[in-house]
């Protein structure tokens, strides 16, 4: 039922689009009719062009994401477990957090050219903050009361870390990963729009040069579609990893 309700608005828009195109109220050189867009989508899929671009973009996102997690996560753990470091780091991060990764692209292109390195750099910039900050927050907000329970049962520092701090921080860590993946997807497209020779963002900007709005629309819908799928998979994964969180266990209670 909920899924059906979610379809209402897209369907209304589609109907207006169809009606507007059929009655030529919409200029088809600005917004091509749905049938044309569908045909383009089929062509691009059949020829493998769409697949090629989307694969490259996805590959960049996942590579960049894992690379970021590989250093953002341990760094957050390090800072979280040595709270003396926090005063050094916090103001710097607060400042950097306000700079959108896209704003750094010109600099990154100067440094790394328009190859893969600059794309990875953009993704790393976008992913770092949500992963780092949420992991750090999860660790710092671990309840002192629960840590005392470990203390009483003779936990050593290592036991406390693995048996109390990490599981307590896990929901927050997963939120950070999910946000990070979303951010990196968005900023990658931005980077590909500005400077790239492949990827879904490049496909869109290339279509602009060719005056092919149908390809642009297919590109935009593809970006949304894959962003949605990635987020959905992550949501399912987090439900499996966090069986004690959510409506099923009425978490608000204790």
């Amino acid at each position: 039922m909920k899924q059906l309700k979610g379809m209402v608005i897209p369907l209304v828009i589609l109907l207006f689009w169809i009606a507007g195109s059929a009655t030529e109220m919409i200029n088809q050189y600005i917004i091509p009719p749905p049938a044309k867009v569908l045909q383009t989508a089929i062509d691009l899929t059949a020829s493998g062009v769409l697949l090629k671009h989307i694969t490259i973009s996805l590959y960049r996102v996942f590579a960049g994401f894992f690379l970021t997690v590989l250093f953002a996560f341990p760094l957050a753990v390090l800072v979280g477990m040595n709270q003396k470091l926090e005063p050094y780091i916090e103001p710097v991060l607060d400042f950097l957090g306000h700079i959108p990764p896209i704003a750094c692209i010109p600099m990154l292109i100067l440094w790394f050219g328009i190859g893969e390195t600059s794309k990875l750099a953009v993704i790393i910039l976008a992913t770092f903050f949500p992963v780092f900050l949420n992991t750090l927050n999860g660790i710092l907000s671990c309840s002192k009361q629960l840590l005392e329970v470990g203390e009483v049962f003779g936990f050593r520092a290592r036991d406390k870390f693995w048996r109390i701090i990490m599981p307590a921080a896990l929901p927050s860590i997963i939120v950070g990963f999910r946000l990070g993946l979303g951010y990196s997807w968005r900023s990658l497209i931005g980077a590909e729009l500005i400077a790239a020779a492949s990827g879904i963002g490049y496909m869109i900007i290339d279509a602009e040069q060719l005056s092919r709005p149908d390809i642009i629309i297919v590109g935009i819908l593809t970006i949304g579609f894959f962003g949605y799928i990635i987020d959905y998979c992550f949501f399912k994964l987090s439900n499996r990893l966090l069986p004690w969180v959510g409506e099923r266990v009425n978490y608000g209670r204790s």
């Binding site: 009361q145 203390e151 049962f153 109390i164 307590a168 896990l170 004690w244 009425n250 978490y251 608000g252």
Partner: protein, 257 residues
């Protein structure tokens, strides 16, 4: 097994440059295998004493030593565990896993399972072994917390108003269970409560604290299980109330038992 010897124990806190004597030169000996209840008004230092006993805080002055059955000093800290006023269960662990938590070092998982199953049954939690803490009631959570400590099998069990948040029925049941556990497991138990009836029902001695000092140490020479309607029970209760209130209690108050 272990008894506890507390000598000249003091704990000071400072709040806004003002020193608070939470505990002031306490002397108390708790023999191995005895059940002591601590009563006293709010803020008299009950929680502070328990936290010092289990090593969550360090004394400002004085010392705590643990004694074995022959009254010999045990090196270091004995196996002491505390049941907090709140259940403090790990939200990510099921009831069963929470109870098994203190046995994390035990390699023999079958033995862990046996111990946990034993206490699940004893505390009437068998049906809920796979539930998460958010799925059980407050009274059940408190029983899980108690079960967790029993699984740890400490020599000394400290309890900080563990039944405070429970309804009268559940409370009575758990009191009876506690007496049972005390008699069968032969633990040293220090039990904090606000409720004088509960203190007399459970303790072999009732220690009354006031302003960080021991006001009186009342022996309860009644056999278990005790009957709150018994004349002697009533007299001891009256006596403790008189000491705590610093005057004769009015006759109007009823029993909470």
């Amino acid at each position: 097994m272990a008894g506890v010897k507390i000598e000249q124990l003091s704990k000071y806190y400072t709040i806004h440059n003002e020193q608070i004597k939470a505990l002031a030169e306490i002397d108390l000996t708790i023999p191995d295998g005895s059940f002591v209840t601590l009563v006293g008004k709010s803020g008299c230092g009950k929680t502070t004493l328990l936290r010092l006993l289990c090593g969550l805080e360090q004394p400002s002055r004085g010392q705590i030593t643990f004694l074995d059955q022959q009254q010999q000093v045990v090196q270091g800290k004995g196996r002491v565990s505390i049941v907090f006023q709140e259940p403090r269960l790990m939200p990510w662990l099921t009831v069963e896993q929470n109870m098994a938590l203190p046995l994390f070092k035990e390699k023999d998982r079958r033995r862990v399972n046996q111990t946990v199953t034993h206490f699940l049954a004893l505390l009437g939690l068998k049906k809920f072994r796979d539930a998460y803490p958010a799925q059980i009631s407050g009274g059940m959570a408190q029983r899980v917390a108690l079960g967790r400590t029993l699984c740890y099998d400490p020599d000394v069990i400290l309890m900080d108003e563990p039944l405070g948040a429970l309804d009268a029925f559940t409370r009575k049941n758990l009191q009876a269970e506690l007496v049972d556990i005390f008699q069968t497991q032969k633990k040293t138990i220090v039990f904090v409560t606000h409720d004088v009836d509960e203190a007399v029902f459970l303790g072999q001695r009732v220690v009354i604290l006031e302003g960080g000092k021991i006001l009186e140490d009342v022996a309860v020479a009644l056999s278990y299980p005790r009957n709150p309607l018994q004349q002697e029970f009533f007299q001891i209760r009256e006596k403790i109330l008189t000491v705590v209130m610093g005057e004769k209690p009015t006759k109007i108050g009823g029993y909470s038992q």
